[in-house]
Each structure stands twice: as structure tokens, then as C-alpha cells.
Point group: C2
Chain length 679, copies 2
């Protein structure tokens, strides 16, 4: 049976080798002019300065939590796996961001020297490195765990690995999200609105911080989010393997059920590599087509292989149905997200139209779009759960929860490809920034703008995907929670469960309030600093004196690190407190409440933010008065509100629901032992 | 046992007689100048034109739903009770609004002739009529039902009465909410912002529609909301009486358990009358003190009597604990709401401060306050549920759910007083409008402004109370649902329940999107009409030509009636569809999801809206540049976004969750019989 684990490790290594080759190729590409090198140097420097300080804090968190696990659960193995999962998460972020900061300047250089095709390739391959690092390191870690430990220990302790991934993801996502939006809002409000200078203008002191933010938030933060979902889905399937094999009536044993998700993940990595290779821009065509093609090919390969392996390994096609259900839901949510957030469809146009009566109607209609945009994704998730559950339940009663975990595995199997497409956006965005700051010819910026426009849509789709996958992963982990606690029912007719449900539903609201206020505070500091610099030396706006970029970078860094602590602790303490005080059933209610309300809030915030962003772009294209009109100003307000919505609070909720669930799974034995102090 | 029902009917009649006396006194007060009479005539005319057309649509709804109940459930009694509950709801709205439109002009006249004290009294007594009509007619109806039918029939069919109350409430709240905000937003954006004329200026064509809106939305709509909660809480306790008496081990019989909530409601009416009588303004003192005093006295009486009756009727003090828990939670939520929405506290000041950097930061910080404001109310509700459940559960296992229903009854027992305080606000607001339009001396407006300012706070508190009571009532009805369906558990480990949970959590978002978009569309129509009138005749703005008020009233009326249909149907169809297709367990999940997410959304929206409103007022008082400054403009954007939040979407969610639950209770036998087409 260890063969399966070895296969998974091999596939992971292949993925990592491909990532390494791509990274080296990118590194050896042309870096452009000295000015470009200098600017990209600033960005790299800022990004790594942040990461380094973030890692220092995380190191403390890792040590404290490892001790907590070791002592609270008296399991050294779980504590070690926790550290292992956390360290791999850090590595994935580090590796991916490193290449992204190589890729940005080289994308700009390629756009300058060789045109669209080459630029698309470098930007996309930078994203692909991140994607393969995320899935490769995730599968590598889990494969090694499966190789080295006996099955019983794996099942018992592997959740520690997931907890490691989750806790790092939270700080990465929240810290990165606050960083990027503080810089973005600050740069926009003073630079674009007050001083009237264009985006990415080198005279803006916050411009480097803004570009750093794209890397630490949209690349590293997003990567750690999907790394967590990726690991979480596989881990959940592993912990449910015993239940599944018992329900199968001898069709397959526990080991096969536990290793099947690893094998599917291995298939996913290979499929992603194939998909990545297939992405080739054609001069004059829309880069979105090339990216979509790659995604469809990767998904197609997984579909075909899952049908074969489902029958071969587990003796029934039902498991392929679950995997395919997950994949289809992921793609469908992406498409729905596009419809609600892209300027090609009526929702965004409607917001732009409503902006003619001022910022208030921009906000009202944008929130309306955000709320409405939750309907179809929820229906998709519901149908996906239904299909995955009932298909596998036909194999044997009690099998359905394993089916739901497989749906999550299926959805996330092509994570390598999905992250590649997603991370391509901020790399292109950065390339555009560098082109602007280095004063490259107008045609270069046109190319990067085209890449960036596609990147905005792929980023919105990626967010939808991240939410959908978080929902399924959290649900799968919720099933693991019930298995670990041995609860036969968590009934809504039990008032303690209802109390948990209310508290759980409240947490995403509280969490969002924290993160939004954090962005507000940090952005205010940034605004004041930029204003101060403009006031202190008129040469800055005249373009004769270089602004003090480093100070703005420092403000974002400090604010992000400081502000990520409270929401981070909250996500860990809330399930511990409810589990210990009110008991495991109330905690089950809390997790369900947080899951339901959190997914809704995340969808609403991400999509409203995306729609506002593109409504502004739609007006900038010349509709309803174009740039500088009153309508445009109204859409800028919408975009600014949307910034923390879509890049800080919304995505952070994903992690909140996953992290709280995995904390509950890890500490479930403790809660069961205590049984609730008052519950 | 019928004695208890007779006592309830008598108390209800006393309440109605007092209401009648107050109404006659108000009617006989001075109406002021001819101009005032003319203006108030316009408002009355507009309000009744709306009600008349609304009632026509409701008549169709009543007939259709009565038939549906009669045929679908084959119960003529339930259908008849449905009609009875609906007709009484309509009567309460009609009676209350009638007096409110008498009271507004007389409040202005009293302010002009006799000063603050007399004005406060008339405004408050107008509200008191609404309050006593709501509780009096509610208890009268339920008392009559209890008198005329045998207990088994009452328990089986009384939910029909609640359904009647709920279905009317939905259309009243949604229709009224859309009406008032379409007029308000339209009047503000064109009048105040574009034309620069003051609020309530007679030159504004939408000004009458705006004042009509206060009556149909904030008086009639709010009244029907609390009428529904009031009836729902009592009904829920009645349906759980059999369970409670079985659990009591012979301590009391079913009839006593069923009649106890009626008796407590009777106590509440008498207490409210006492409280109302105690409200007397002192010249020079803050009217808020007088109102608070009345509320505390009414609550105090209920507390004392509940302790006595709990022991005397049910043989244990535990039931008083439940009732008092409900009362305390209601008062606490009101206080918390005040802290987050009043300009005296730091949240609102923070929004005003943040508004200095523009409308975007106004919106971000307001949403942050709204989200944060959910935390303590949820904790209060959780503690209240906990106390009510576990106190009564000690009497006998299985008693707890009855305890939760009693908590709801306790919270709502002083509805007469609560509605009086709440409805006093819009009456004062209208009085100010009439003073402005009739060009009364400045001192008059100062008095009405003072009353109105207090009214804004009481309105915000009232909203918090309405949400809290909706949460408890819906939860109590959810317990009834489980009793009627006979489900022993609705387990979150059953994926069909999770699917229900997701769908349920999504519904408040979808519903809010509908209602916000409705307001947006209707407001746009209004904006265009006001602009058209200003353009078509320059005499309007010059003040020499009277604008066409009627046309604006007509636009609001038509828009409200048209736009209330879809969300209204949605609330009825969603539980029917889920119950029939996915079965009763999935429906249980859906109700819980809608309850949790709905309460959170309602709190967030109501409080964000209230906070924005008062942040604007805070700036208008001269802070951060005062009226006309850029900061002020930013707060106006916040206030405009807050309008549909706090007066349309937020409050409508209350009804959504109650209505969906009662639909489920009424049609539960049908769902059980079908058992889910695919679930």
C-alpha cells in the first residue's frame, strides 16, 4: 500500500521539478533596462522584508501552537506534523513569491522586446511556479507522512498537518490582504484622486508598497489559502477512510480509501502540468482563451482518469461522480463569478449606469449585485453536495461523507492550474506598474494592460473558486469532526446547537469588521504619510525628487503585522472556547453557522468588490462620461469600498471557516473528554 | 379553563378601549392653521390611497392562500383562522395609521401653541394607539379563538392565525419600506443635494410622498411586524403546551400551559397601559427620559406579576425566569443598538471622523460598525436562549422549548409600550415636516426637531427590539415545527440538512438584494420625476408654483405595490418548495440557516443604517466642517446607502424568517406526508 504513497510523492516531486525548471527559465530571461531592475529590486526588497518579519511572528505562533497541541492533546506526532505542514506552507509562499518577483520585471521586459506572446508566457509561468509549488509541496508533505507512518497514526495525526497549513494561511491571507489594501487605498486616494497623477506613477510614495502588496497579498496570500484547501480536502478524505471502508461492505479496505485521494491529487498535478504546457498565446488573440483552454484540458484529464481509477481502486464509478461533481462545481462557480463581475455582462453595466446618480447608488447597486451573486453558487454547491453524497451513499450506507470529501479533492485536484491562472494576474499587474514607473514606451503598457485586464477576471474567478473550495473543504472537515468526536447527530432541535449556530454565524461578521477596520486604519496612516511627503517637498510631485518609498513600505508592513494578530487569534480561540465551555455539539453548531454565513459573506464581498472594480473600468472605457466625470468619481468610491471587500475581508473568511473547523477536528478529543463546562 | 381565555379577551378589550379614548382625545385636539390642515390632508390622502390599493392586493393574497390552506391541508378551520389573523392585522394597521395621520398635524399645532410637553404627549399618544391596537387586536383575536374552539382544535389550527398575521406583515413591511425609501432617497438626492433646498421644503415635489412614507412604512409596516411577532410568540407557546404538560410530570395540564401565555400577554397589555400613562414630559428635560421611564415601569410590572403567576399557574418559578430572560434580552438589545447607532457614542463619531477622507471611508467604517454591532446582540440572544431553556428544562426534560417560547412571549408582552415609543418617532418626524411646509415659526421646528431626534434613537432601538423578538419568535416557531413534524432530530450530519442550511442562509441575501434593487429602481423613477418637474416649470423652485405632489405619491405607491410581489412570493414559495422537494429535515435546516444568517444581516443592516444617519447628524451639528463641507457630503452618501438598509431590507428580513417558519409549521403535515420528492 505504501506504493500509492510513493506514487503521490513522485508526482509531487515531478511537479516541483517542473516548477524549478520554469523558475530557472524565468530567471534567465531578460530583465530590461537598469531602471526596471532598480524598481523590481525595490519591490523584491519590500516583499521579502515583509515576509521575513511575518515569518518571525509565524515562528512564534508555530512554536506556541505546537506546544499547545503537544501538551493539550499529549501527541508529539500531531505536533510534529503541525510544524511540518506549517513549514511547507511557508516554503510554498516563499518559493512562489520569489519567482513572482522575478517574473514581474521580466514580463515587462518581454512585452517591450518580444510582444504579447512572450509576456503572457513569462507571466503565466511565474504563476505556474506558484501553482506547482502549492500543490507539489502539499502533496509531497502528505505523501511523506503516508510513507513514514502506519495508517492508524496517519489517520489520527494528519489533521495536525492541516492545522499547520491553516494557521499559516490565516496569517498569510489576513496579513497580506491588509498590506496590499492599505497601500492600494492610500496610493489611490491621495495619488489618483487628490494629486491627480496616474496609477503606478513613480512620483507616488506609496507606489512601491502597492506593488509589493500585489505579491504578498494576491500571490503569497492566495497561494497559502489554496494550499490549505488542497491539504484539507485530502486530509478529510483520509480521516473518513475508515468509515468509508466499513460502509463498503468489503469492496475496499481502509488503506485503499485513504490512499485514493492521494492518487487523485497526483493525477491532478500531472494534469495541471499538461494544462500549463498547453497555454500558449496566439498573437492577436485574447489571452483569456489560452488560459481557459489550459484549465479545460487539465480538468478533462482528471475527469477521464478519475473514472478509470474510481472503478479500478474502489470498485465503483460512484466515486468518480463525486470527484467530477466537485470539479464541475468549481468551474461553474468560476463562470458565475465572471458573469457577475465582468464588464461584459449586465450586472457591472448596471452598476455603472446607476453611478450616474452618485456614489450612494453605486454602493447600493453594488451590494445588490454582491448579494444576488450568492444565489447560483450556493445552488451549485448544494447540487454538488447532493450529487457527491447520494452517488457514493448508494455504494454503502454511511459512505456519503467520504463522497463529499472526494468532491473537495476533485475540485482542488487541478489546484496547480488554478493557482497558475490566478497568480498570473498580479504578476501582469506588477509588470504594468514597472512599465509605468520605468517610463517604457506606451505600447508596452498597452500589452501589460491587456494581460492585466484578463488577470482581473481570472482573479475574480479564482476568488469564487477559492470560496467554493473552502466551502467543500470545510464541510468535508466538518464530517471528519463528527467522525472524530463520535457524535451520531448534531441536532438543530438542541438549543445548545442553535446557540452555537448563532455564534458561528456571527463570527464572519465580527471577523470582517476587524479586517475592514484594520484596512481603514492602515490606509489612513498611509494617506497621511503620502500627504506629508507631498507637502514636505514640492519636488516629489514635480518629478525632480525621489519620494521615500521605503517609509510607505514600512507602514504597510508594520500595520499588516500588527493588525493580523487579533483576527488570527480569534479564529483559533473561538472554537477552543466554544468547544471547551459549551461542548462538542455546540461547537458543531458553531462550525455549521460559520460555514453557512461565512460562505455567503465571502461570496457577497468578493463579488461586490469585483463588480465595483470593473464598473469603474467600464466607465473609464468612455461610458457615461468616462474618466474624470462625476459618474467616474462615484465608481471610484465603489472601487475603494470594494478593495477591502474583495482582497482582505472576503478571502480571509475562507480561511476563517477552514481554520476553525480544523482546530475543532484537532482538538476534538479534548472537547469530548471535557464534555462542555456548562453545555 | 375558558375563564383564562375570557380574561385575555377582557384585557385586550380594555387595551382597545384605551386606544379608542386616546384616539378621540387626539382627534379633538387643535389642528392648527388652514395650511397645516391642507398639508396633513395631502398626507392622509396619500397614505390611505396607498393602503387602499395595498389592501386590494392583499385581499387577493388572502383569498388565494386561504384556498391553498383549505385545499392543501383540508382544514377549513385553519383557513378561517388564517383569514381572521390577516383581517385583524389589516385592522391594526388601518387604525394605527389613521390616528398617526391625525397626530402628526396636531403635534405640530401643539408645539406651536403649547410647547414641548403637549407636543410630546400628542405624538406619544398617537404611537400608543398603534401600540395598543397591535397588542389589543392580536390578543383579542387569539383570545376569541381560545374561547370558541376546543383546545385540540386550537392547538392544531391556531398557526393559521399566525400565518395570516405573517403574510400581511410581509407585504406591509416590504411595501411600506419600499414606498418610504423611494420617496426619501428621491426627495433627498434631487431636493437637498442637487437643488440645495432644505429637507421637507414644500417646493420639493416628493415631499408629501416622503411624509406619507413615514406613515405607511415606519408606522403601519413596523406595527404589522410586531403584530406578527406578538401573535407568533403566543401561538408557538400554545402549540408547545402539550409537550410541556407531558414533561411536567403532572405539575400542570395542557390547558394551563396553553393559556398561561395568553394570561401573560394580558398582563403585558395592562402593564403597557400603566407605562403609557406614566409618560409625561417635563418642560426642559429630555423627552427620552420620560419614554424610558414608561418602558421600565411596564417591564417592571410584567416581571413582578410573572413571578407570581408562574408559581401560581404552573407551579414553578422557572417559567418566570424564561419570561424575564426574554424581557431583559429585549431591553439589552435596545441599549446595545443605541450604543452603536447614537451620536453620543464613539462608533458614530468614528464614522464621522473617517468621513473626512471621503465617502468610501464613510461606507467602509459604517459597514464595519454594522458588522461589529452584531456581536453583543447575538451573545444576548444566546444567553437568553440558554437561560430560558435550561431554567425550564429543570422542571422536566423536554420542557425547554416551551421555555424558549415563553421568553419570546415575555419579550413581546410589553409590545403595546414598545410600539408606542417606536411609532412616536415618525409622528414627530411628520410633525416637523408639516411645520416646515406650513412655514411655522422657527421655534416650532425646534421643538419638533428635538422630538424627532429622540425619535431617531427610539426608532433604532425599536428596530433592534424587532430583530431580537423576531429571532426568538422564529426560534419558538421552529420548536413548534419540530413538534408538528414529529422529527426527533434535525442533524447537521445529514447532508440534506446542510443543503437546507446553505439555501436558508442564502435567502436573506437574495431577499435583501431584491428589496434593495427595488428601492433603487423606485428611487430612480422618483429622481427623474422630481427633476422633470423642476425643469418643466421654474416657478416650482422659485416657490411661486405648487409642484405636482400627487404624481410623486403615485410613483411611490405603484412602485411599492409592484416591487413587493416578488420578495413576498419568495418568502412563501421557498419553504413550500424545499419542504415538498427536499423534505421536512432539509426544510428544518433551511429555517435554521435563514434564522441565523437573517438575524445577522438584519442587525448589520439596521445598525449600519442607523449609525450612518446619526454620523450625518453629528457632522451637521458642526463637527468636521459641518453642513455643506466635503465631510458632510460623504456622510450624506452614507445616509443614503443606509436608508434602504435600515428601513427596507433590514426590517423586512425579520418578517422573512418568521413568515418562512410559520409557513413551514402550517404546511408541516403536508411535507411529512410527502416526505421529500428527492430528499
Amino acid at each position: 500500500m505504501k506504493t500509492f504513497a510513493l506514487i503521490a510523492v513522485c508526482a509531487a516531486v515531478i511537479g516541483l521539478v517542473v516548477a524549478l525548471i520554469l523558475a530557472m527559465r524565468i530567471k534567465n530571461s531578460d530583465q530590461g533596462t537598469d531602471r526596471m531592475k532598480e524598481i523590481s529590486g525595490f519591490i523584491r526588497e519590500g516583499a521579502f522584508a515583509f515576509l521575513k518579519r511575518e515569518y518571525k511572528i509565524m515562528a512564534i505562533v508555530i512554536i506556541v501552537l505546537a506546544l499547545l497541541i503537544g501538551i493539550g492533546l499529549q501527541s508529539v506526532t500531531t505536533a510534529i506534523l503541525y510544524v511540518f505542514g506549517a513549514v511547507l506552507s511557508v516554503l510554498a509562499g516563499f518559493f512562489g513569491m520569489n519567482v513572482a518577483t522575478w517574473g514581474n520585471v521580466r514580463t515587462a521586459a518581454a512585452a517591450k522586446e518580444s510582444g504579447m506572446n512572450k509576456a503572457l508566457q513569462i507571466a503565466f509561468h511565474s504563476g505556474a511556479v506558484m501553482g506547482l509549488a502549492v500543490s507539489g509541496l502539499g502533496l509531497f508533505g502528505l505523501g511523506i507522512v503516508a510513507c513514514c507512518l502506519d495508517l492508524a497514526t496517519v489517520v489520527q495525526c494528519v489533521t495536525g498537518f492541516g492545522f499547520g497549513a491553516s494557521s499559516m494561511a490565516l496569517f498569510g491571507r489576513v496579513g497580506g490582504g491588509i498590506y496590499t489594501k492599505a497601500a492600494d487605498v492610500g496610493a489611490d486616494l491621495v495619488g489618483k484622486v487628490e494629486a491627480g497623477i496616474p496609477e503606478d506613477d513613480p512620483r507616488n510614495p506609496a507606489v512601491i508598497a502597492d506593488n509589493v502588496g500585489d505579491n504578498v497579498g494576491d500571490v503569497a496570500g492566495m497561494g497559502s489559502d489554496l494550499y490549505e484547501s488542497y491539504c484539507g480536502s485530502i486530509i478529510s478524505a483520509i480521516t473518513l477512510a475508515a468509515v468509508a471502508s466499513a460502509a463498503s461492505g468489503g469492496l475496499f479496505d481502509e488503506a485503499t480509501a485513504a490512499f485514493f485521494p492521494l492518487i487523485m491529487a497526483a493525477v491532478g498535478i500531472i494534469s495541471s502540468i499538461i494544462g500549463i504546457m498547453m497555454v500558449r498565446g496566439k498573437e492577436g488573440s485574447n489571452p483569456a482563451n489560452a488560459l481557459n483552454m489550459g484549465t479545460y484540458i487539465a480538468s478533462g484529464v482528471v475527469v477521464i482518469v478519475s473514472i478509470i481509477l474510481s472503478k479500478a481502486m474502489l470498485g465503483s464509478f460512484a466515486f468518480a461522480v463525486a470527484i467530477i461533481a466537485g470539479l464541475v462545481v468549481g468551474v461553474a462557480i468560476g463562470k458565475i463569478t465572471e458573469i457577475y463581475t465582468s464588464g461584459d455582462y449586465k450586472s457591472v453595466k448596471k452598476i455603472a449606469e446607476q453611478s450616474q446618480t452618485g456614489a450612494a447608488t453605486t454602493i447600493i447597486s453594488g451590494l445588490g449585485v454582491g448579494m444576488m451573486s450568492t444565489v447560483w453558487p450556493i445552488i451549485c454547491i448544494a447540487v454538488g453536495i447532493f450529487a457527491a453524497y447520494f452517488a457514493t451513499e448508494t455504494v454503502g450506507t454511511g459512505m456519503g461523507m467520504y463522497g463529499i470529501a472526494l468532491a473537495a479533492v476533485g475540485m482542488l485536484s487541478t489546484t496547480g492550474m488554478t493557482v497558475a491562472v490566478d497568480a498570473y494576474g498580479p504578476v501582469s499587474d506588477n509588470a504594468g506598474g514597472i512599465a509605468e514607473m520605468a517610463e517604457l514606451p506606451h505600447e508596452v503598457r498597452e500589452i501589460t494592460d491587456k494581460l492585466d485586464a484578463v488577470g482581473n477576471t481570472t482573479a475574480a474567478i479564482g476568488k469564487g473558486f477559492a470560496i467554493g473550495s473552502a466551502a467543500l473543504t470545510a464541510l468535508a472537515l466538518f464530517a471528519s469532526y463528527s467522525a472524530v468526536t463520535g457524535l451520531s447527530a448534531i441536532s438543530l432541535l438542541n438549543p445548545i446547537v442553535i446557540i452555537g449556530l448563532f455564534i458561528g454565524a456571527m463570527l464572519p461578521f465580527m471577523f470582517s469588521a476587524f479586517t475592514m477596520n484594520s484596512v481603514g486604519r492602515a490606509a489612513n496612516q498611509m494617506i497621511e504619510e503620502v500627504r506629508r511627503q507631498f507637502r514636505s517637498d514640492e519636488g516629489i510631485l514635480a518629478g525632480t525628487v525621489k519620494p521615500d518609498y521605503a517609509h510607505c513600505v514600512d507602514i504597510s508592513t508594520q500595520a499588516a503585522l500588527k493588525e493580523m494578530i487579533v483576527p488570527g487569534l480569534m479564529a483559533i480561540i473561538a472554537p477552543l472556547a466554544v468547544g471547551i465551555i459549551l461542548g462538542p455539539e455546540a461547537l458543531g453548531g458553531m462550525l455549521a453557522g460559520a460555514l453557512a454565513a461565512g460562505v455567503l459573506m465571502a461570496l457577497m464581498m468578493a463579488n461586490a468588490g469585483g463588480a465595483w472594480d470593473n464598473a469603474k473600468k467600464f466607465v473609464e472605457e468612455g461610458h457615461y462620461g468616462g474618466k474624470g466625470s462625476e459618474t467616474h468619481k462615484a465608481t471610484v468610491v465603489g472601487d475603494t469600498v470594494g478593495d477591502p471587500f474583495k482582497d482582505t475581508s472576503g478571502p480571509s473568511i475562507n480561511i476563517l471557516i477552514k481554520l476553525m473547523t480544523i482546530v475543532s477536528v484537532v482538538f476534538a478529543p479534548l472537547f469530548v473528554a471535557i464534555g462542555g463546562l456548562i453545555g
